[in-house]
């Protein structure tokens, strides 16, 4: 495990028309940690995530993921990079015409050389790692509840043994018990498999329970960056009401 940061974001500026979403956002994510980005609705968390994984381009700045400069990389370099991270989209973004098992198998078939007799067990292992019951494998995404769809999406994101996992609001729409189990899954992935996890979340329980570092976005800049305890001490109106509303 190299000492370099898994993600480095430096002075990123994003504009939508005349509206400035990010005005010089900088932070870095060390390897093997769970880092959460929090911020109010419309503070550009999801946009930042999409920029980091290369789905959108910021107007200015530098973003480096696992040592690759995302904004200056060639298409081949980006493809190679994409095999090294997994992404869970907010609503799962499962392929709706494939079963859960086929969804998980897709990246394995497309990107990895897996012996045929291991494909089935590997898919079932991913599904079990994501905390889904074995019966879920044969179901279509439209037959799953919201929480199960998220888990299926995690199973697909884990398919290629990523070094880095991105999650967009993983616990939203889950019941508290399932959400905490989900948090434990993330902690397990970080501790046991050495994954770096970058999570956009609103969930204070996730933040207080499992997150190593938090980055707080407000008004287009990073207003706090550090351990959760550090962040809680930062005096900012949005942060005060965030922690107050959750009744800590």
């Amino acid at each position: 495990m190299s000492a370099a940061a898994a993600i480095e974001v430096d002075a990123v500026v994003t504009r939508f028309g005349t509206q400035k979403v990010h005005d010089g956002v900088s932070f870095s994510v060390p390897r093997g940690q769970i880092v959460a980005v929090i911020g109010g609705s419309g503070s550009g968390k999801s946009v930042l995530l999409r920029e980091i994984i290369g789905l959108m381009r910021p107007a200015a700045g530098r973003i480096s993921v696992l040592g690759t400069d995302v904004l200056r990389a060639t298409e081949e370099e980006l493809t190679a990079l994409r095999r090294r991270f997994g992404m869970m989209f907010q609503d799962g973004a499962l392929f709706s015409s494939l079963t859960v098992a086929q969804n998980v198998a897709t990246p394995l078939i497309e990107q990895a050389r897996v012996p045929a007799h291991l494909l089935g067990p590997l898919v079932r292992l991913r599904i079990a790692l994501a905390g889904l019951p074995p019966e879920a494998a044969a179901k279509m995404p439209s037959e799953l509840s919201g929480g199960m769809r998220k888990r299926a999406a995690v199973a697909r994101a884990l398919a290629l043994e990523p070094e880095l996992l991105f999650l967009d609001e993983p616990t939203s729409g889950l019941d508290p018990v399932t959400a905490r189990a989900f948090d434990q899954l993330l902690r397990f992935l970080a501790d046991e498999l050495g994954l770096t996890i970058f999570v956009v979340t609103h969930d204070l329980d996730t933040l207080l329970g499992i997150v190593d570092r938090a980055v707080v976005l407000a008004g287009g800049t990073v207003i706090a960056d550090g351990t959760v305890k550090d962040v809680m001490r930062v005096d900012h109106p949005w942060l005060r009401s965030y922690f107050a509303n959750h009744g800590t």
Binding site: S96, V114, P115, L125, A128, A138, P141, E161, E192
Partner: protein
């Protein structure tokens, strides 16, 4: 590169055990000749172990009948990966098996499904008629704005394409008839043929086919997307009827729009024929118009316009029905849209044939 070596009852692992090398690891494990007895794992030289490789090891051990008697030199994180995988491994029992059915059972299932589909179509038709009846009693319940918007999409915006296509077909018809009629010195009858053929058959059919492709597919895609995004459920919970709000405006718009478009088509077809008759057959525009006036009975035009209304209703019903039955996956909406266009065109031609026979018998 060697990943494993078997010494008696000790399996030594070495190197990077990860997904990228899983094919080689699996092959080496297969060739190692694992015994059907407890073995010890030595992981002192193991540099990395991910869940995929751990699975490959456990699957191979399980298949050989070997069990893990103990670990030595395996660092704690690798041991935890191994445990995590072992806990979550299943015994390989497939979840759901599809039963194989005999041909008779398949036929029965197909018949029941067909019957159910027919039942659902009839129910939809019934709901449409009920909604129409309600609107007839309370005209204020009709969404007039939506109707106007649909009329704009279905009728006004279709005029250019309808006019262009029918104009060209008019030219082609006059040219084809003219080539033959000229041999007999009967050029003037080209006007009769084009006028009657176009207004009674060609224009209604062409317009209906264009509308099946243009508006029928749009209805399916619009309603299908609304179903996917749960907008139709939202309408219902707000106490609005999707029939009143979505289906009726589209149905009425099609029923009104098609005759208007067919009228545009009639005029454009005759204009096309007229344009080519002058240079090709020496029939001047004035002669052409005079001949149309004396030979084209109003009933031909009326039959064409009346048929168009019914084609319009068929296309709208097929399009809306397909849209409302879209299942919640991306594949379904494309299939339903295709099926709308195909069914729309087939039904228009079937209805047209039915009318041809019926009107012949009635002598209209």
């Amino acid at each position: 590169m060697s990943y494993c070596r078997l010494d008696g009852t000790t399996l030594s692992l070495s190197g990077q055990w990860n997904l990228a090398h899983i094919a080689d690891i699996d092959a080496e494990l297969g060739a190692a000749g694992l015994p059907a007895s407890p073995i010890r794992l030595d992981g002192a030289r193991l540099q990395g172990l991910d869940t995929a490789a751990a699975l490959a090891l456990l699957v191979r051990l399980g298949r050989a009948g070997a069990t893990i008697a103990g670990l030595s030199g395996v660092n704690s994180s690798h041991a935890r990966v191994l445990d995590a995988v072992r806990e979550r491994m299943d015994d390989g029992a497939p979840g759901v098996r599809r039963r194989n059915r005999g041909p008779l059972a398949a036929l029965g299932i197909a018949a029941v499904k067909f019957g159910w589909k027919l039942h659902c179509h009839l129910e939809f038709l019934g709901r449409c008629v009920a909604a129409l009846g309600e609107v007839a009693r309370h005209p204020s319940r009709l969404r007039w704005k939506e109707l106007a918007a649909q009329l704009q999409h279905v009728c006004l915006e279709a005029i250019p394409v309808v006019a262009l296509v029918t104009f060209l077909i008019g030219m082609v018809l006059a040219y084809l008839f003219g080539m033959q009629a000229e041999k007999y010195g009967a050029s003037i009858f080209v006007v009769d043929a084009v006028a009657i053929g176009a207004t009674r058959e060609i224009a209604p059919l062409l317009v209906a086919v264009i509308m099946a492709g243009r508006s029928g597919s749009a209805f399916t895609a619009q309603l299908g997307t609304m179903r996917l995004t749960e907008e139709i459920d939202a309408l219902r919970t707000l106490g609005l009827s999707p029939m009143q709000v979505l289906v009726l405006p589209r149905l009425l718009a099609s029923v009104f729009a098609l005759p208007m478009l067919v009228f545009v088509g009639d005029v454009a077809t005759l204009a096309g024929a007229m344009a080519i008759s002058d240079p090709l057959l020496d029939i001047s525009p004035l002669t052409f118009i005079g001949r149309v006036d004396s030979q084209l009975a109003f009933r031909h035009v009326a039959v064409g316009l009346a048929k168009a209304s019914i084609f319009g209703a068929a296309i709208a019903l097929i399009g809306c029905r397909a849209g409302l039955t879209v299942r919640r996956d991306a594949h379904s909406i494309g299939m339903k849209t295709t099926s709308t266009v195909v069914q729309g065109i087939v039904w228009v031609i079937l209805l047209d044939a039915l009318f041809a026979v019926l009107l012949q018998e009635l002598g209209i």
